[in-house]
């Protein structure tokens, strides 16, 4: 069962995707043949964001557990719940991916 929010999201995102495709092809003269490469580059960014997120959360968890073991002081693993981890990891992944691309 698809809810109203899901229908609205899919509809609007679909519409803006088609609209931006038309703007890109007709007015900006972008090549449709390079769209596949752009999608692959976007997927590379998503992958790098995920890798940085896993890396950051893994190092964070190790530091928390290490602090607990070494000092006996309790530090909550729920500190890893903060949404800022995701946002900054996304920024790291995006930067890494673009950096690699401009160096090709």
């Amino acid at each position: 069962m698809i809810g109203h929010a899901a229908l609205l999201i899919v509809g609007v995102v679909g519409l803006t995707s088609v609209g931006s495709y038309l703007v890109a092809v007709r007015w900006m003269g972008l090549s449709t043949r390079r769209l596949g490469a752009a999608v692959r580059a976007a997927l590379h960014c998503v992958g790098m964001m995920t890798i940085f997120c896993a890396l950051n959360l893994g190092v964070g968890a190790a530091l928390i557990v290490g602090t607990r073991l070494l000092t006996g002081r309790f530090v909550s693993l729920y500190l890893l719940e903060d949404g800022t981890w995701w946002a900054l990891s996304a920024l790291q992944g995006l930067t890494w991916s673009i950096w690699r691309r401009v160096n090709d």
Partner: protein, 206 residues
């Protein structure tokens, strides 16, 4: 090196597929329901309401803490146990979660002598150990455990491990008719619990 270079792309595909499936299908609910503990409400020696997050600077309970406390109070008022144990992660200060919950329980008609507060536990395993120290000598063996549905599997396992017979009374059970953001949040909570379970097994709590 070439294969390694393709890894982020493949990972990106996997993440996008998981995200879309999770946001637009009931997959997250199916996963959450499959690892959840079925509700089993039965007469017990005590109702144990686990801590549910920090109290605000204004002294307000978190949503999760309120829901758990109210469910525990409801079960007490329905006569499922003669004792209501209210846990809180903070030290026993004026704005401690357990004290605020106890005040709420009294306002809802639970007699003060039936309320036991448990303070200072940092983790679920710690709550189980402290509950045992507090209640075992009072003859409590069967507990009606109140916590969020996604937390119940781990909580029930550690309470069973310290010797209690556990009846599960979860709150916030996974729903089927969710909007995309709630589905993604449910999957996030389920994955977090799966990671916590793995940690508990590794650390020897289970």
């Amino acid at each position: 090196m070439r294969a390694l270079d393709r890894l982020p792309e493949l990972l990106g595909v996997a993440v996008v597929v998981v995200f879309v499936v999770c946001a637009f299908t009931p997959a997250a609910t199916i996963v959450a329901a499959s690892i959840g503990v079925p509700t089993r409400i039965a007469p017990a020696d005590a109702i144990v309401v686990l801590a549910g997050g920090r109290v605000s600077s204004q002294g307000a309970l978190s949503d999760s803490s309120s829901r758990r406390a109210l469910h525990g109070i409801e079960l007490y008022r329905e006569g499922f146990a003669p004792m209501l144990v209210l846990s809180g992660s903070d030290a026993d200060l004026a704005h401690a979660e357990s004290r605020i919950r106890a005040a709420l329980a009294r306002r809802c008609g639970v007699p003060p002598e039936a309320i036991v507060t448990l303070t200072g536990a940092s983790t679920t395993a710690d709550e189980a150990a402290r509950t045992r120290s507090l209640l075992w000598d009072r003859g409590v063996r069967r507990v009606l455990l109140v916590t969020d549905a996604d937390h119940m599997a781990r909580a029930a396992a550690v309470f069973t491990r310290v010797g209690f017979t556990v009846f599960a009374a979860p709150v916030n059970e996974p729903e089927w008719n969710l909007e995309p953001q709630s589905r993604v949040a449910l999957l996030h909570r389920t994955l977090r619990e799966a990671a916590a379970m793995a940690y508990y097994y590794t650390a020897g709590y289970l």
